[in-house]
Amino acid sequence: MSKIKISVVICTYNRAELLRGAIQSVLGQEYPVKDYELIIVDNNSTDFTHIVVEEFLSQYAHVRYILETNVGLSHARNRGWQEARGEYVGYLDDDAKASLGWLSAAEDVARNIHPEAFGGPFYAFYNSTKPVWFKDEYGSHVQGDVARPLLNHEYLDGGNMFIRRELLSCHGGFHIDLGMKGTKIAYGEETHFFKQLRADDKNSVLFYDPAIYIYHLVRKDKMNLWAVPKRFYFSGVYSARVNNLQKQNRAGLVFQILNISIRVFLFFFRGLVVRDKAKYPYFENYLYESLFFNFLELGSLFERFRISSEIE
């Protein structure tokens, strides 16, 4: 048997009906079957996930099904690389669909550049109507349209990333206190890992190639305007947790929090009166792009405040 180049890992939790699309997008790749394997890590789903997977298991020899009973995305992702045999481990979300040339583009990068980790953008797709104000950009993540190594403050997206397997095993994989657990919102496990990687070896390359693109589902509840601040807030909280912070001056933090709160407040009223109609066609766009974004910083500040108090 020839050596497997890429192990694709799909971690899933109670999304049986979406999982089929994700699996099919991988199996439909224009890429030789002998060069990759597909590992589906079922994070103890309670729905009909195993039925969906079994249908594929009987037809494809290079698909494997693994049950991980420890609930948590980090547990599932760790199990994924532990079971993998490929040189690189590619992670794909269960609510995503890979583009047709996803694996071939990935192999090109792996062979020509051989980075520590690499990945690409994702674009939005839908399974329900979207509100008029919702722009496709809100559901996409694109870091430019040229292939390049990412800069120090940039990280790959967890839904579309390939990591060299030996690096995962020598760093012990993803931090189990971070990352989604069941239905609880949490982020940051991959960012934490990439930070470790860079701290360990300054010359580590995280490579970004727009040719390695996927489509990611924008669920209906993600398009609810009033849930957006909460999501931004939690990303802020976890970005603070990932940044190993020292104790900070709490008075300074309070001042910054007040500063941002007042800014949000004032900008809200300014937006009611006047806004750039070309940039923000609807008031919702204004809220999303120029107000709710501040909640990211608010979340991060509150979390830093909490950490500083705990250290004391």
Binding site: R20, Y123, Y126, N127, S128, T129, Y215
Partner: protein, 343 residues
């Protein structure tokens, strides 16, 4: 693996014509499809009929809703269930001709830019035989869509990728004319087409939704008009939209005042379009001209003011083609006078 086409049908108490309709799909010359039927809470014999088809043809998939959730919800549910590359719509009271899938799939394969494609239809039911011939090219369809729906809903084939990419799902808050609302959104994202062949027999009910729920439909139409006019960047009032709706529904008034307002309104659209370049001006002007001509034909106004309106308007006047414009107006009004027996 996956079938190439998913045929999608929603049934609500449709026992009367159901068998004819289902069999017209199962007997298609193109065979690589799945047939998703959503039973939207029927309480007649439809569920039993469907269960029988389920048993004798593995391509039939049936999903039953416990209550009546409406066409939009049923279709969205079906679209998310569908595995095919194309989604074909079908109604429980219509009949597809045998080569329908074959022709439409071949067309979609040959034109990867097209996202939505309808066909010409023949009307059946207790009305006289009639054929609806729709424009076939995208720009023409777009121009026509400004006034009214230019695709027969059950004749449509859609590309599944486009639906996912642009969120082209039915709005579940709308119960009537949901297809028109969807096309209104989709026109900006994908190319439209109609096949110039009759591939569907479309049943018209004289007591159908179109007749019973005019007011609810008008609400939807107004929404679509606002969406379609927004790229033109011009101001209009609610009265203008009422007028536009009347023109779109061929409900022309017969007094000179109506004609005057129509002329002003159509000219405004034409001008705004020339400025924004949203639809190729010659194509939109042809459509506006056709509507204008019809409004004049219908009008019972006195010949002299009518003649004046026609001559004064820059809108295209289609009657008496080949004559200079001045003559066209005069001849048309003379003919009209003869027909109402003034001489």
């Amino acid at each position: 693996m996956n079938p190439r086409v998913s045929v999608l049908m929603s049934v609500y108490n449709g026992e009367q014509y159901l068998e004819e309709s289902v069999e017209s799909i199962l007997n298609q010359t193109f065979t690589d499809f799945e047939f998703i039927i959503i039973d939207d809470g029927s309480f007649d014999s439809s569920p039993n009929l469907l269960a029988r088809y389920r048993q004798c043809d593995p391509r039939v998939l049936i999903h039953r809703f416990d209550g009546n959730r409406g066409l939009s919800a049923a279709l969205n549910f079906g679209i998310n269930l569908a595995r095919g590359e194309y989604i074909v719509r079908m109604d429980a009271d219509d009949i597809s001709l045998q080569n329908r899938l074959q022709e439409q799939v071949a067309f979609m394969d040959a034109n990867p830019g097209v996202g939505v494609c309808g066909t010409w239809v023949e009307l059946i039911g207790n009305i006289e035989r009639q054929i609806w011939r729709y424009p076939t090219r995208h720009a023409d369809i777009h121009a026509c869509m400004l006034f009214a729906n230019t695709l027969v809903h059950p004749s449509v084939i859609m590309r599944a990728v486009s639906i996912e990419k642009y969120a082209l799902y039915y709005d579940e808050n709308i119960r009537y004319a949901q297809d028109y609302e969807l096309w209104g959104r989709a026109l900006a994202c994908v190319q439209f087409a109609n096949l110039d062949q009759i591939l569907l027999q479309h049943r018209i009910h004289t007591e159908g939704a179109g007749v019973k729920h005019r007011e609810a439909q008008y609400k939807t139409h107004e929404m679509v008009y606002r969406r379609l006019f927004s790229p033109f960047g011009f101001e209009y009032s609610d009265d203008d939209l009422r007028l536009h709706q009347q023109i779109g529904a061929y409900q022309y008034g017969n007094d000179i005042e109506f004609l005057r307002r129509t002329r002003k309104w159509l000219e405004t659209i034409s001008r705004a379009n020339r400025q924004s370049g949203h639809i190729p001006p010659d194509i939109l002007d042809r459509e506006l001209g056709a509507r204008w001509t019809q409004a004049c034909q219908f009008s019972q106004a006195a010949p002299l003011p009518l003649c004046f309106e026609i001559i004064a308007s820059p809108l295209r006047f289609c009657e008496k083609a080949g004559l200079p414009k001045l003559w066209r107006g005069i001849r048309f009004c003379l003919d009209k006078m003869v027909s109402v027996k003034i001489f």
